[in-house]
């Protein structure tokens, strides 16, 4: 039982990170119907920027941890959002309305570019970081087995919940959210009714990148080590999460993220660690075969 609870906590933490990345995929897919393959690399850039900010803060003698974390979060979010905007502007906007596979191939090119850009500038080796938040609470203890929840895991889960609430409010109540939902339903009609479609799409990428940056910061704190290649696997898993939840659905993305996190944690705990990535891929394949619309997705109608 203790072991189970422990895995549950680990899975939820991991799932929060995947869920935040998955939102970026699902929003972009909902609006322009493309898989933003470079999104995983945006998340990687977010992680690098938070490491860099932390190092700079440490050097100038900033030691008050909570404030330092907030500064890291803000800087990483703003700078990563700039990347999200630029990627859309350069690689996707010129291809809007073009041949179906063109944006996807352009996105793969962008992903390769971003990986090598970071590798070239920051080096190929792992970037280790000492733990910033330590300590935690023991939830259960029996027969020497403990279920332990670190403060960091609490921060990650709480922050994710807060962000999700804020984000749901943004989609449901603000004018930007309305514009996004309008573009998702019918881009041409929305533009006829005075919605600035280009701007809405750009902002979607910015928001997606900002959430990915938060996930990047979390993963930096959680694992304490990053490299330029982390975006690839995390991207695929987050995409799996988005598909599992039903692509286009934001609650679905979060739910899918948590499920993928749990599947991965339990698979590693009860089966084998070597094949944990296989679990995510198998889930992706199974979902697409048996329920292509995902758990919360709407069936897609193909028109001639």
């Amino acid at each position: 039982m203790e072991y189970f609870v422990q895995q549950l906590i680990n899975g939820l933490t991991l799932g929060s990170i995947y869920g935040l990345i998955a939102i970026g995929y699902t929003m972009v897919y909902g609006i322009i119907g493309m898989i933003n393959f470079a999104h995983g690399d945006i998340y990687m850039i977010g992680a690098f920027l938070s490491v860099i900010t932390f190092l700079v803060l440490g050097t100038i003698g900033f030691t008050f941890i909570p404030l330092a974390l907030i500064i890291m979060l803000l800087i990483s979010v703003v700078l990563t959002a700039a990347y999200g905007w630029t990627v859309e502007r350069i690689a996707y906007r010129p291809l809007r309305g073009s041949f179906r596979l063109a944006p996807l191939i352009s996105a793969i090119g962008m992903s390769i570019f971003l990986q090598n850009y970071v590798q070239l500038l920051q080096g190929a080796r792992n970037k280790p970081l000492q733990p910033i938040i330590s300590g935690g609470v023991v939830l259960m203890e029996k027969d020497g087995l403990t279920a332990y929840m670190s403060y960091l895991q609490m921060v990650i889960i709480v922050l994710t919940i807060v962000l999700m609430a804020a984000f749901s409010y943004l989609i449901a109540k603000t004018s930007l959210g309305r514009a996004q939902r309008a573009c998702e339903q019918d881009r041409k009609m929305a533009s006829l009714l005075g919605v600035n479609v280009d701007r809405t799409i750009s902002l979607t990428f910015v928001i997606g990148a900002a959430l990915a940056a938060v996930a990047g910061l979390m993963v930096t704190l959680y694992y304490g080590v990053i490299d330029f290649f982390i975006g690839f696997l995390a991207g695929i898993k987050a995409f799996t999460a988005a598909v599992l939840g039903g692509i286009g659905s934001i609650t679905g993305a979060m739910l899918g993220g948590v499920l993928i996190g749990l599947i991965e944690a339990f698979w590693s705990a009860y089966f084998s660690v070597e094949y944990k990535d296989l679990a995510a891929f198998s889930v992706l394949v199974l979902v697409l075969i048996f329920r292509p619309t995902g758990l919360l997705g709407k069936p897609e109608i193909e028109k001639v």
């Binding site: 690689a91 390769i112 075969i289």
Partner: protein, 498 residues
């Protein structure tokens, strides 16, 4: 007199031009301040960093000026933009050529290549300004016109292949005997031909059937590993293993394809990518069967129909050079491998060209264009896609066993996603469905970088950027044009088409 009114100078408002350039500069600052300005260094006591704010400042200035010139061109003042960017390009080129010995070039970037890229961008701006300047005087030229011109060039090029295609094949056959056909050249040609063959194989899947397969390398790996295992465990010869590897890869293709081919294009892409990665993870972790990360070594080298290329063959066997009464030379094997892949690649090409004319080939192309119409006409989309998928996989399996016998060693490292991306890039860059496009793209992507070995660090960076730029420039690839394979009223339609 409409032209006259256009050339009349309009009052120019500099404020929006400045604003645009300043925003671009600000964005560059945001993009570069973190990753370019601060470099992390792994120090003994943890991570430390190094600052490079001069690079950031230069990048901001360069982008500001470039955007300023572009905005000026757009605002109808191409002349100052032309003069400015041409002057910058000329001055930088001059300084770069003068300062050859200085490793940093003129701008304080680590590598003169970055400075050269700035020069290229400046030249691009100048050309753009010149085009705008020219078009104001000689009437406007639209992007659609340019696209049509490119299409016509592509069509003519395609048509011309009928003549120089055989010439090219003859050149490929003669290559080892030409004066520059030394060992290095033949090796490079073998490498390029391997990618050409893979490109042609994937072209069936992506180009003809329109299925985006991001896990093509899985079938390549399947071919390589099945040859490696059959040859090392059972001692099968290459010629026996080749069909086995092809069949196994095709069965894997059918097996994987069957459940996923009902999916829409981009879902299919991600699932195939997932499969590619799954195969690699299995190859890495199933160590007692596949040798794990260490792979399988000492794979038998190919023989000339049973005649080995060894200096001293085993007891009772006859070597290639003694059988033909030649002096022993190690290049014999290299040349043989070259001809082997040449034949395999030409078979792939011939097969594709013929199968395009069969009903199934036509069904692939029809399916690529409109799936719903195909279903209405009674074509079973799943089966049709499945044949394309399996046949494409079969050729990857052939290429895989060639890879294994050439290297003598296989490991999961050779079959990463980037390999799939390179093969896909060859197909897409060349123009989907274009056989000669694949050759052109393979020469560009695989052959060319071998001559620029010193740019190794920038290779993948340029590769990714190139993929994006080519997609923006010509979303269907360099030599893509819609050429109907079958036309009604053959003579008249064909004439009209050309």
């Amino acid at each position: 007199m409409a032209v006259q009114t256009q050339t009349l100078p309009k009052p120019l408002d500099l404020a929006p031009v400045f604003k645009e350039a300043a925003l671009a500069g600000l964005l560059t600052l945001a993009l570069t301040v973190g990753l370019v300005g601060i470099r992390t260094i792994e120090a003994p006591g943890g991570l430390s960093f190094d600052t490079r704010f001069d690079d950031v400042a230069w990048a901001v200035v360069i982008v500001f000026l470039g955007r300023f010139a572009l905005a000026l061109t757009r605002a109808g003042r191409p002349l100052p933009a032309l003069i400015g960017s041409a002057a910058v390009a000329a001055a930088l080129t001059f300084l770069l050529l003068i300062g050859e010995g200085d490793p940093h070039g003129v701008l304080p970037f680590d590598d003169p290549i970055v400075s050269w890229i700035v020069v290229i961008c400046a030249v691009g701006l100048a050309i753009r300004a010149a085009v705008v300047l020219g078009s104001v005087e000689a009437g406007s030229s639209k992007a659609a016109d340019r696209e049509q011109v490119m299409d016509r060039i592509a069509a003519q090029f395609q048509y011309a292949t009928r003549w120089f295609g055989p010439l090219f094949a003859a050149f490929a056959i003669a290559l080892p005997f030409l004066p520059f056909g030394d060992r290095q050249m033949v090796d490079l040609a073998t490498l390029v031909l391997t990618y050409i063959m893979l490109g042609w194989g994937l072209n069936i899947v992506v180009g003809l059937a329109g299925l985006l397969d991001l896990g093509y390398v899985a079938f390549y790996a399947m071919g390589a590993y099945s040859y490696a295992m059959f040859a090392t465990e059972f001692g099968f010869s290459f010629w026996l293993c080749l069909p086995i590897a092809g069949m196994l890869a095709a069965s894997l293709g059918a097996l994987l394809g069957f459940p996923v081919l009902r999916l829409r294009g981009d879902y299919l892409a991600i699932v195939t990518l997932g499969f590619g990665e799954m195969i690699r993870i299995i190859l890495t972790n199933w160590w007692w069967f596949t040798g794990g990360p260490n792979g399988i070594g000492s794979i038998p080298r190919p023989t000339f129909f049973g005649l080995p290329f060894d200096r001293t063959p085993e007891e009772g066997a006859q070597a290639f050079h003694t059988f033909f009464g030649l002096e022993y030379e190690s290049i014999h094997r290299v040349v043989f491998l070259y001809y082997l892949i040449l034949v395999l690649a030409l078979i792939t090409n011939f097969f594709t060209l013929r199968v395009r004319r069969l009903p199934v080939g036509r069904a692939w192309e029809a399916l690529r264009e409109d799936e719903i119409a195909c279903r209405a006409l009674g074509i079973n989309p799943t089966n049709t896609k499945l044949t394309a998928f399996a046949i494409g996989a079969m050729f990857a399996g052939f290429a895989g066993s060639f890879f294994a016998t050439r290297q003598g060693f296989v490991s999961p490292e050779s079959f990463t996603f980037i390999e799939s991306a390179i093969i896909l890039a060859i197909v897409v860059l060349g123009g989907m469905g274009s056989q000669v496009g694949v050759v052109l793209a393979a020469l560009l992507l695989i052959g060319l970088p071998e001559f620029f070995r010193e740019l190794e660090t920038y290779r993948m960076l340029a590769f990714g950027a190139g993929m994006v730029l080519i997609m923006i420039w010509r979303p269907r690839g360099l030599l893509a044009h819609r050429d109907p394979t079958i036309t009604l009223h053959h003579g008249a339609a064909a004439k009209a088409h050309r």
